[in-house]
Amino acid sequence: MKRELWLNVVGVGLLVGCFVVASVQVVARAVRERDPRTITIRFSHWQLEAGLREAFEAVAREYERRNPGVRVEQIPVPGRVYAAWIRTRLAGEQPPDLMELGRGTPDEMLAQYFVPLTEHVERPNPYNVGTALEGVPWRETFVDGLASATGLETLQEYYGVPAAVVTVRMYYNRELYREIFGHERVPSTYAEFQDVCRQVREYAQRTGRVVVPVAGSRFNANILLDALFRSQTQRLSLEIDRLRLLKPLDPALVFLDGSVTLDTPAIRDALELVHEVGRDFPAGFLQLDRDDAIFYFAQGHALMLATGSWDYGSVAKQTRFSIGLFPIPLPARDDPRFGRNVLGPVSEAGQGLGVTFHLTKRSAHPQVAVDFLQFLTSRVGNQLFCDRSLWMPAVRGVEPPAETRAFAPTTEGYPDGFRIALWMWGAGEMYRLFVTHGYRLVARDGGVEDFLRALRPEFDAAVRADAERLRRACAGNVRRLDTAVAAWRMLGEAGKEAATWESQNQQEALARWLEVSLR
């Protein structure tokens, strides 16, 4: 009885305590916001990886130090709920001043809730005064010159600026590597990688130690297998590149006219490669999550892990061994089985820009928010961000941290081949088929034939469905741009009118070609 009473008292006490703490926080925030001497700006993001929040915090504190009277707060939101969260905040007219948005953000959302930054990006970033970027338009200080900016193609405006670049690498356990091999000469080609994997399996068998070559999960396996698959479509991409753009095609276009089929040698080689590497992951890896793979690697049960620069802080925090990094080992041109499809190492130039922030229309202090963005993406601000987060810089001339220099984008390389999304980063009918039957490709008793047998009956229909989906998307853009082009014309904005015609006509031609091809 007495024990129960005490438990109740403790319970009520905790409840009251939480209420008091929460109330103090709410009141303190309200008081702060009412203080006319302080301007508060907030930015939201989904980067919960280790080190990121600390990096943003460091940049915010430095900005506040340089700008007395301004307070900067970050709102980290888990990636799984971020999309719903931003929609709720935007619809409720209570968004933060700056929001991180992904590549697939619809034009309508950008137009309705965000402010174009075009005027700003064409002027120099004031925080670059005294550096080599002094006087350079803000746009040109980014490693890709903002060529891939969200909304640029259709809205003809710059809406966001990136703070980082991401690349993917193989992580490895340096101590374990030395223990197994007696050296640290990492594989640079697929053949060497396979040799390393074979020796790891032998080592595990010989010593009875639980260790596999590569930590696996649907997410991490996809990173490695996607890169290997695309190595096999590099040459094919150029062969079928009728417009000579030297860029990979959308997979629906690759298969549409029948000149490339599931039996094209490069496609079969790509699938064979995926099947072969499937053995190097732990059994059942498709059921595992990204965190499981990192945990497995951190426990020393896997020699290697394929993941991106975004995970470096998290992995380093969880491991007691030192981590080494090397590029994903693709087949060399002289590889007897897979070399015939390869052009060479893949260029990462101008790729992978992310952590892109956008200014919301509801921002009460848009000039301060833009000023903060300029600081974050200045030489000094981006250096501070990268030094603390261990991420790669999005700004020209910012030095990557020494510890993670191996993530610096490779610029001496060739265009990637086209991908067929196997387990992630895809959409549409072909993707649905691959996700449904992909397990056959990597199952111990499966293989390429088994996978293709399951795929064939539905494949052509899936290709046509995806081509139709692409046609509809282009046609939708064409219709929307009719209104935009009329408006730019009436406003006398000749440059924007010209750019809109150009975008519209290119999409209209593709939509029309698809319409005729799909008859």
């Binding site: 260029s347 009719d482 935009a484 009329a486 009436m490 150009e502 070609w513």
Partner: protein, 254 residues
């Protein structure tokens, strides 16, 4: 320093506000509505046009925004078509009305009526052969026709020779170059049209990069190495950080 910076940023924002205010003060009270339409906010723009005093420009604004006000319905499209039909004529608004009526028939109407659209484009071109919208209508018709089985590509090419408006010339040749590639016509055709595009100049930086890479590649294949090198050099100078730069350099730039 900080104050000066924030003052300059404030001027940029204030400038934007001021421009729209000037527009209103100068009697151009439709500028704000057109800006919303340009920024793909058709519903908001339509509301402003609907509230404005009726004029030919206002009716045009209502019609072209209604084409994209969600949900797009046959009833709304019919209403837009009626407005456009009533506006057709030989002044700027009248010419725009005929052009957008053709667009409505070609890509907005459910189901589309491309035959009527083609007739309207032709009528517009014959009445106002020098007008940019009439010439763009001709380009739209060419894009529609070129992929139609049985179309005489050479005849279509000749039909574009009368185009003079730089935007129409550019988009006509760009469309013909793409079609030559997709229809697997001889590579020289594609090259010829892309060179014509480059002569008139493109509007977007991204398109410039693509056009230069394509010319370099096609010229290389045709054995025109000087031409190939010239365009490779232009591409590399402007886009050193492009994923294609190394390949272009390796093939032609050295």
């Amino acid at each position: 320093m900080r104050r000066a910076r924030q003052v300059s940023l404030a001027w940029v924002f204030a400038g934007g506000q001021l421009l729209s205010v000037i527009g209103v003060a100068a009697g151009d009270d439709l500028a704000a509505a057109w800006l919303k339409a340009a920024r793909m906010l058709p519903a908001e723009a339509y509301r402003e046009f609907a509230a404005a005093a009726e004029s030919r420009e206002v009716l045009l604004g209502r019609a072209v925004t209604l084409l994209n006000v969600p949900p797009v319905t046959p009833g709304n499209l019919e209403r837009a078509a009626r407005w456009l039909e009533s506006l057709r004529g030989d002044d700027e608004v009248g010419i725009a009305a005929t052009y957008f009526l053709a667009r409505l028939e070609q890509v907005h109407r459910m189901p589309p009526n491309p035959e009527r659209a083609l007739r309207l484009y032709e009528e517009l071109y014959h009445r106002h052969p020098q007008h940019p919208l009439a010439q763009m209508g001709w380009v739209k018709a060419a894009i529609w026709r070129v992929y139609e089985p049985g179309t005489d590509f050479a005849a279509l090419e000749r039909s574009g020779e009368g185009l003079t408006d730089p935007q129409a010339v550019r988009d006509f040749h760009l469309a013909m170059a793409d079609a030559a590639g997709r229809l697997r016509l001889p590579a020289e055709k594609q090259l010829e049209h892309l060179l014509a595009v480059d002569r008139v100049g493109v509007a977007k930086r991204k398109t410039a990069g693509d056009v230069w890479v394509r010319i370099a590649e096609l010229a290389r294949e045709a054995g025109q190495m000087e031409l190939a090198r010239e365009y490779a050099r232009r591409f590399l100078a402007e886009f050193p950080n492009d994923q294609r730069a190394h390949l272009v350099r390796e093939r032609l730039g050295r």
